[in-house]
Amino acid sequence: MKLLRGPWLWILAALIMLLTAALVPASSGLWRMIDYERRFLAVVVAVFCGAVVYWIRHARQGGEITVRRVPGLEAIDEAVGRATEMGRACIFVPGIQDMNEVQTIASMTVLARVARTTAQYNAIVQVPTAKSLVMTSAREVVQAAYLAVGRPDAYNPDSIYYVTDEQFGYVAHLSGMMVRDRPAACFYMGSFFAESLILAETGNAIGAIQIAGTAQPAQLPFFVAACDYTLIGEEFFAASAYLSGSPAELGSLKGQDVGKIIVAVILLIGVTLATVAEISGSPALARAVELLQFDILN
């Protein structure tokens, strides 16, 4: 429960919001400014954001942050290193969605790290993209990474290029290119759909080290089965925090954990209420469960 200690101000603010949401009647003028239906959502958003902000501040002020290990991440440097030894390229596939998808944005922060490592090792990273906006962002990111390690001359914008918006046109190009150029390391980070298995199996056939990360639950099985390491769902979003190593970013992970505690608490309360209501058959309790489900959690 150390996670919840300290942020008294936030807890107080959240309590006030919660009480306001629960007690101010629906006819009140307040709800002309704020959507009545979404009042509890506002509380949850505030609590979650508050927790993330609190832990980021805590970390910035020198507070200690401990997080568990995620194996896939350590493999990134290793994979780039191997590609360098073999004198072959790495490819980074940022998924097939546009910059309006948070997974693509998260993949850009992972790319920043991969590009920095390739710049240090003097390896080549190829970034074929399926969207023009992703291409422009990726160029900014890679250029910045090369600048940061002091090798701006080695940056080649042509290695980051647009292929086509069409999912399978993009895959046709990628798999053909993988078979021909035989990259030593493949990173699949972002939002993937059916192409996941085509990529992972082709990468497997050419013997590349493959590291994947996605929050598309449907594609996780294929990455888990065919890649060396896979960042599952939330781990993928946490990756940028881990890779940056900055305490402020690691702090945000603790904020996420607070979110999970909220889930567990609400769930346990709800399930207990529902169970007691079911056994006792009390209509009052059944109404309470309904209130929780369709009013508070709406």
Binding site: R68, G169, S175, V263
Partner: protein, 322 residues
Amino acid sequence: MQRSTMLWTLVMVVAAAFLIGRTLQGEGGRGSAYVRVVPRAVDEDHPEGRWQGVERVDPAEYWRAQAADPAQTAVRWSPANTVGIWLAALFTLAVLSFLAGDNPVYKVAESILVGVSAAYWMVVGFWEVLVPNLLGKLMPGVIQAWALPGLEAEPDLSYLVPLTLGVLLLWRLAPRGAWIGRWPMAFIIGVFCGLRLVTYIHADFLSQIRNSIVPLVVMNERGFAFWDSVRNVLTVFGMLACLVYFFFSIEHRGAVGKCARAGIWVLMITFGAAFGYTVMGRIALLAIRLEFLFDDWLWLIDPNNRRVVDGATALLQSAGIL
């Protein structure tokens, strides 16, 4: 290796020549396509329509029409669509050839696909987004006169915002001040981060908690429902165990470790099931491609009875083909 390649090429050329010969023999054979002429914009002055369009029909319909009136031209053989079916079949085979290894045929197919699809999405973007949602909003009069006669709207100047953002974005092509292209990017990223933050918490986070609130003990008219209760208990605790696995601030040791391990097990079962389900879909995809080859192209099977005609027409059909 060289010899086998030559042998294969020879086999393929002979097979292709045979198939093409069969198609060109008379009107009708493997891979042939037929169309019906349909009148468009029919009114009193133009009972035949101001102009005519076509739609594809089954071969059986052509044979039936021919049997009824050999001189008719409303339903006819379509060279463009026949070539199209052949091309589609060759493209299908070209992509499948990648399974045997990378080869020039696949590379050609890949190059065409990349070019065609990039242009396809640009064309779609132009006619579906830029014309109605940008130009049509900014200058509806011009667009109505030119391309969208059904458009009835007043100019909406708020669309100057995306136009400006677009110009800023394209600024990076200019020799100076490419950094200005970051502004629209930043705007987009900021906007969607804000939007996703709330919608994900609303739609996935809260609604998934809500759906998980179930009684652990289920009663029905016959009293205690054992299996339903077991299901609910497993669902709730399975989900909690998975959440423990995703916990970042505690190492997976001791009791937490055991819980996290149970969580991984549940995740693995989830993945296994997803894999099984997906296999189904993937096989259906292959099936439909093979059906195209066997049905539309080679006429080996006819599951939809598209080439079945009654006795009299059948006679004519066999006379026409053989």
